[in-house]
């Protein structure tokens, strides 16, 4: 059944598609429909058998093949594709509206014009059952980054690294502008670190376009974000924390590998938390004021005690 559910929409779209593109190579048409040239030929052979009642010459769909190309000569009244289903209209229109709310990242005027045209063509099928909000605070940075990408220029940025709680100035060769999990990121080759880095746009404090070409090394690999940004890597270490009920939000907010509930039913739990920088974890635990205890590694637990002691000594003075 799934074969038909896949094939029938293609069969109904194919004749109008070909009408708009006389003499198109079969391989190109197959690629546009996400199928193989072999399957597309089978579809065309099937359409050849279809037509209007009477089913004589002139009633049937007719195609002419020339080399590896195809042209429709009789369309049997299949001149336009079927209108969009509610699901299709929702998926496309919500995506467009989402992009329209990401100023700086895309050409929002073109997005708005396209949205209006598609809404008109679709009729009333589009209903707002899905909504996506992308962070908007970084509009100016996104605009500057997109400009540098369009012009192929390198950038100088002042960047806040949350893990180390530090600010640094770097020269980078921009590669892509990404919007992942609600935030905008500049993916670039960092000349200081000699590696590909993702810079979260809302942590870029200053951005200056340089008068020199962006030149990431040819072997600079784009980051694979398909599994999310917090994919485990060798840079990550693991800590064991005991958290009380009031601090359990951290198990949802930060990358946690395992949550073991305390058997006493108090709502406290033991979690395995991934972290890249020890100083970041110490800051987190210090701020939770005893609602989270570091069990492993002991050196981190000692560091928390040490920082707390120093802070209390300073507060007295």
């Amino acid at each position: 059944m799934s074969g038909l559910a896949d094939r029938l929409p293609r069969l109904l779209s194919l004749v109008p598609y070909l009408l708009a593109r006389p003499g198109i190579p079969i391989a190109e048409a197959a690629a546009d429909f996400g199928t193989t040239p072999r399957q597309l030929r089978r579809d065309l052979e099937l359409l050849w058998m279809c037509g209007l009642p009477g089913y004589g010459p002139g009633d049937l769909v007719d195609l002419s093949f020339s080399g590896d190309t195809v042209t429709v000569t009789e369309d049997a009244g299949m001149r336009r594709p079927l209108r969009l289903t509610t699901a299709e209209a929702t998926a496309l229109l919500v995506a467009l509206r989402t992009l329209g709310e990401a100023p700086g990242v895309v050409d929002t005027e073109a997005v708005q014009r396209a949205t209006a045209k598609i809404e008109r063509a679709v009729g009333d099928a589009g209903i707002a059952t899905v909504a996506v909000d992308l962070s908007r605070e970084e509009e100016a940075t996104a605009t500057a980054v997109r400009g540098a990408l369009d012009r192929g220029r390198a950038l100088q940025i002042v960047y806040y690294t949350a893990g180390r709680d530090a600010v640094s100035r770097r020269t980078v060769d921009p590669m892509r502008l990404l919007l992942v999990e609600g935030h905008g990121y500049l993916e670039a080759w960092c000349r200081e670190r000699e590696g590909v880095r993702l810079f979260r746009l809302d942590r870029v404090e200053e951005v200056t376009e340089l008068d020199e070409a962006s030149a990431p090394p040819p072997d600079a690999e784009p980051t694979d974000v398909s599994a999310g940004l917090f994919s485990p890597s060798e840079e990550h270490r693991t800590a064991v924390l005991e958290i009380d009920r009031e601090a359990r939000w951290i198990a949802e907010y930060y990358p946690v590998d395992e949550v073991v509930e305390h058997p006493d039913g108090s709502g406290s739990a033991r979690v395995l938390l991934r972290y890249a920088d020890p100083a970041w974890l110490v800051r987190l635990v210090l701020g939770l004021g005893g609602a989270a205890r570091v069990v492993e590694p002991p050196a981190l637990a000692a560091a928390v005690a040490e920082r707390a002691r120093a802070a209390l000594a300073g507060a007295k003075g």
Binding site: L4, A76, R83, R113, A114, G290, A301, A302
Partner: protein
């Protein structure tokens, strides 16, 4: 090679669509049986009607607007037709920039349900003559939805059908509560997905984070029973839960030069003295600000207000008590 069963059926369905598009009259099933190739193969009346019912369902699921009606008051049987105006996608003409925006939108989704639907939409736009080039440019927006319940919830929203599910209150270690919800929509806010709807148990509008909804999600009642109140703002329902409230005061803290960059980003420097800076930070949730300040440890001195300074000191005492006696 002999045509397979599914090929024969695909051919019959295409012919059925073409036949019903070409008629203005409502064609009775018997006429369709005699006209459209493929139905003549049915060995009995019963076999034909079963075949025809399945075909009608298939077309309706694809979104083909199959109309039922009688030609005149004297007709005894119903007939079928497809109005061309309802079937065909309207005229659409996009310039290069608009087509590029549509291509980008088509690749926004990183969830099977929405990605599949978006690709279906792009295929139809291409068939309407629009050139949509999905070749990746230098801008790549992705919206992920990998929660296992996403598909079921979206389907329920689109069908207008209530759902019931187990919900883990307050995150990974929270207690599990059963909820029955009239789903109004799904919302992605700050990269996280929420279901928004009317919670029947609490008789109020609620949002549920998808990662806290456990499988299976079961539908209750009939499709079409749920109606979204006009003027509903889905995003506002989610955002309301994260509102820290109005500014209730200002915190003044001192941080040493070159330290506590995170805190510097939250406030504004109002004065430089003693080898550091005095920052002013807006106070909405005192609790949250206290947590940020305490995290900086000896790199911050809380000057004002006294209640905040006491709260931060309390957090340090708590952290020390929990970790004292640990030897590295």
């Amino acid at each position: 090679m002999l045509p397979t069963v599914s090929s024969a059926r695909a051919e019959r369905l295409v012919n059925l669509v073409l036949c019903l598009l070409s008629t203005r009259q409502f064609l009775p099933a018997e006429r369709i049986r005699a006209t459209v190739p493929g139905y003549a193969d049915a060995p009995s009346d019963e076999a034909f009607f079963r075949m025809f019912e399945r075909d009608k369902t298939e077309l309706r699921e694809l979104g083909v607007p199959l109309e039922t009606g009688r030609q005149s008051a004297f007709d005894t049987v119903e007939g079928y037709r497809i109005a061309r105006g309802d079937y065909e996608l309207g005229e659409i003409d996009l310039d290069t920039e608009e087509a590029a925006a549509v291509a980008l939108a088509g690749s926004l989704w990183d969830s099977p349900e929405l990605a599949g639907a978006a690709h279906g939409a792009l295929r139809k736009l291409r068939a309407a003559g629009v050139e949509v080039d999905e070749t990746r440019g230098s801008v790549q927006p992705r919206v992920r939805a990998t929660e296992p319940t996403f598909g079921a919830l979206l389907a329920a929203v689109q069908a207008g059908q209530a759902v019931t599910f187990d919900h883990r209150r307050g995150g990974p270690t929270g207690e599990i509560v059963r909820r029955t919800v009239e789903p109004w929509g799904v919302v992605s806010w700050r990269g996280r997905w929420y279901l928004v709807g009317h919670d029947r148990d609490r008789a109020d509008v609620r949002s549920f984070r998808l990662s806290r909804i456990l499988e299976p999600v079961k539908t209750v009642g009939d499709p079409g029973e749920v109606t979204v109140p006009p003027g509903t703002d889905l995003m506002a329902s989610v955002r309301r839960n994260f509102d820290y409230g109005p500014v209730t005061g200002t915190a003044r803290v001192w941080v040493p030069e070159g330290h506590a960059h995170g805190l510097r980003r939250l406030g504004t420097v109002v004065e430089s003295r003693d080898g550091g800076d005095v920052l002013e930070i807006e106070l909405r949730s005192e609790r949250t600000v206290a947590r940020w300040l305490a995290g900086a440890g000896p790199d911050v001195v809380v000057l004002e207000p006294p209640a905040l300074a006491a709260r931060v000191r309390g957090l340090w005492e708590g952290a020390l008590a929990a970790h004292e006696g640990v030897r590295a």
